[in-house]
Amino acid sequence: MTGMLTTGTRTRGIRAVAVAATAMMALAACGSGSSAGTTSGTGATKAAQGFTPPKLSALSKLGAPEKQLNIVAWAGYAEDGSTDPTVDWVTPFEKETGCQVNVKTAPTSDDMVNLMKTGQYDVVSASGDASLRLIAGGTVEPINTDLVPNYADVFDGLKMKPWNSVGGVAYGIPHGRGANLLMYNTDVVKPAPTSWSAVFDKASAYKGKVTAYDSPIYIADAALYLMKTKPALGIKNPYALDDKQFAAAVDLLKAQNADIGEYWSDYTKEISAFKSGDSVIGTSWQIIVNLAQADKAKVAVVLPSEGSTGWSDTWMVATKSQHKTCAYKWMDHIISPKVNAQVAEWFGEAPANSKSCAETTDKSFCDTFHAADETFFDQIWYWNTPITQCLDGRKNVTCKDYGAWTTAWQQIKG
């Protein structure tokens, strides 16, 4: 817990400067594919993938470590002690394998894809949308999961998902996942909310004290709400919105804007707003709730009945990598029970390795973050980047792409 608190304070500066919304979007935009592991969801995504990846084969066996490894990662995923001397899982890896690690943190999915395309990097912690683009472009190659012993302990709910496999071929090793939740001030918001309507249709009850995530991807939250409350719109996937569905979501958010006090992208900002009472209800992450509660803020959190959006990340190996043995060793290292527990606690997300839960410093960590709770994650629509080809598989309409989402988001904020 203290570790996470430190992250909050330390990354605050970086985050605010480095373009808060973008960075946070990037940090969290780590999901893809489709929803929640239901059969229909998988089918829809497969149709939506609509591409055949180049024929590449996975590594058949490991050689001698190549003494070097270049990583592209989200901030906080490959810590070498430079952020906090006590937070370091890179140095032990270097000592153990002899692979000298260079970490390049990227603020957005676009940056990650561009960095990987240079061919100078070996592994990447890709978000789902980035992962599919990397696979389609042949930038990353299939993974031989047999060479990653710790893969066996990864939760089944994360294996062979639409964002980390194509046509039954694994392209990556799951890293961790989390959900966007509804946080509220227990003193002010009574009775406890059970639905996202508290921040949409009924938001006026807390006029000027409602908060929302400051990123175009938040439009998906509105779409998810409409998907459940306005079936007539026919929304099947909150990331695949045609003109009419998109307009409905945007209108909902424009109406919500009247009740918004402030939007947040830097999570320290949300904590301070909830502490001071400037915000009393709004979307949040588990780590924010924990930190706010640790700060004695009277907040509670709920996964509303409509389900929620969230993220899920994957480690992938570059096709052109000259250091594949080091890359495989890194992937095995980062999801080894102890390290995966460290990363998960540092970042505030559910670990991918089921054995991590025994290694966390906070013994209730995995329960708090619902690590093994597949029914919880079944209700999560992992973040995805919208493209014109509808992700729900519809062929007769075009969907709004992320550029349109960004423009709309700016118009929503006015």
């Binding site: 373009v19 400051d214 001071s276 006015g414």
Partner: protein
């Protein structure tokens, strides 16, 4: 021995020849002052033209391109779509006007606060106090921008210091929003207004103030007819700082602006999240154009000549 001697001679001849070359070069430069000037200015000119104006040109050029929605790559076909979007889109227009309004408000408030401060520092305070005051004005610049912005966030928050201080007289703080943004930007950029005015007033001879008094002018008349006209170029210099700094700021508004957004936030959103560099470039051209217009206007007043 002979060989050594020959080598020595050869070396000294070489040195002499080298010296001769240097001498000839310096003589050449002496006779051709224009060449001398060109060589002297080459490095700064390269920086100015290539790095500064070159990147500005690249910015304007990028604004004429577009982005392929599927690949996210730039399409190098000239189109005016982005520029027309910036001008015609209601959201962008509102945000541009709001940004200019904020920058103007910050500049005016800074000038109103800075003039008396700078006058006191330059003309009233003892040399000892003056040094102390200059340091006091400069001190906030030593602290990180973010630390100051977040400190203001804490002060402006509900039940923060400002609410607490205003409570006895039945008032509330401004909360997060546009007024808070103007307040914090004013605080952040005030030194950039105080220092030029202070420097300008320091150059103002005391004898002029005395003369004004001797001619029968009261204090306010002296300020109006002597101090302000002479300090005007300095105020303009300060205003250029505060206006341009406010025009480009997008972080303060994220921290204390509530749900407001300014031009910088739009540029950031388009360049980062949306990966639409051309539109971001078109938006970024707006403050550049505004500053050009402003500087041309300032030039017409003649204030730039007096700087």
């Amino acid at each position: 021995m002979d060989h050594g001697l020959a080598a020595d001679q050869g070396l000294s001849m070489l040195v002499a020849r080298g010296r001769g070359a240097v001498r000839r070069l310096s003589a050449f430069l002496h006779r051709h002052p224009r060449v001398r000037l060109a060589l002297l200015l080459a490095a700064p000119l390269v920086v100015l033209l290539v790095v500064y104006l070159g990147s500005l040109g690249a910015l304007l050029l990028t604004a004429l391109w577009s982005t392929d929605v599927f690949t996210g790559l730039l399409v190098h076909t000239v189109t005016l779509d982005n520029l027309s979007t910036v001008v015609t889109d209601a959201t962008y227009r509102t945000v541009i006007l709001r940004t200019v309004g904020v920058a103007m408000a910050v500049t005016v408030i800074c000038a109103v606060l800075a003039l008396p401060m700078a006058f006191f520092m330059a003309k009233v305070a003892s040399p000892r106090t003056r040094r102390f005051l200059v340091v006091a004005v400069l001190t906030p610049l030593w602290a990180s921008y973010l630390v100051k912005a977040y400190a203001w966030r804490e002060m402006l928050a509900g039940h923060g210091v400002i609410d607490w201080a205003l409570a006895p007289i039945g008032l509330r703080g401004p909360g997060f929003g546009l007024p808070a943004t103007v307040l914090v930007l004013t605080y952040l950029w005030l030194p950039f207004m105080v220092l030029p005015i202070f420097a300008g007033l320091e150059r103002l001879p005391d004898s002029l103030l005395d003369a004004s008094g001797d001619l029968g002018a009261k204090a306010w008349r002296t300020v109006r007819s002597v101090v302000i006209p002479l300090a005007f170029p300095a105020v303009v210099a300060g205003a250029i700082f505060t206006f341009s700094l406010s025009l480009g700021d997008y972080i303060t508004v994220q921290i204390v602006g509530g749900k407001t957004q300014l031009l910088g936030n739009l540029i950031q959103g388009n360049s980062g999240a949306a990966n639409n560099l051309p539109l971001a470039a078109a938006l970024a051209a707006v403050p550049v154009l505004l500053m050009v217009v402003l500087l041309l206007g300032v030039r017409r007043t003649g204030a730039l000549d007096n700087l």
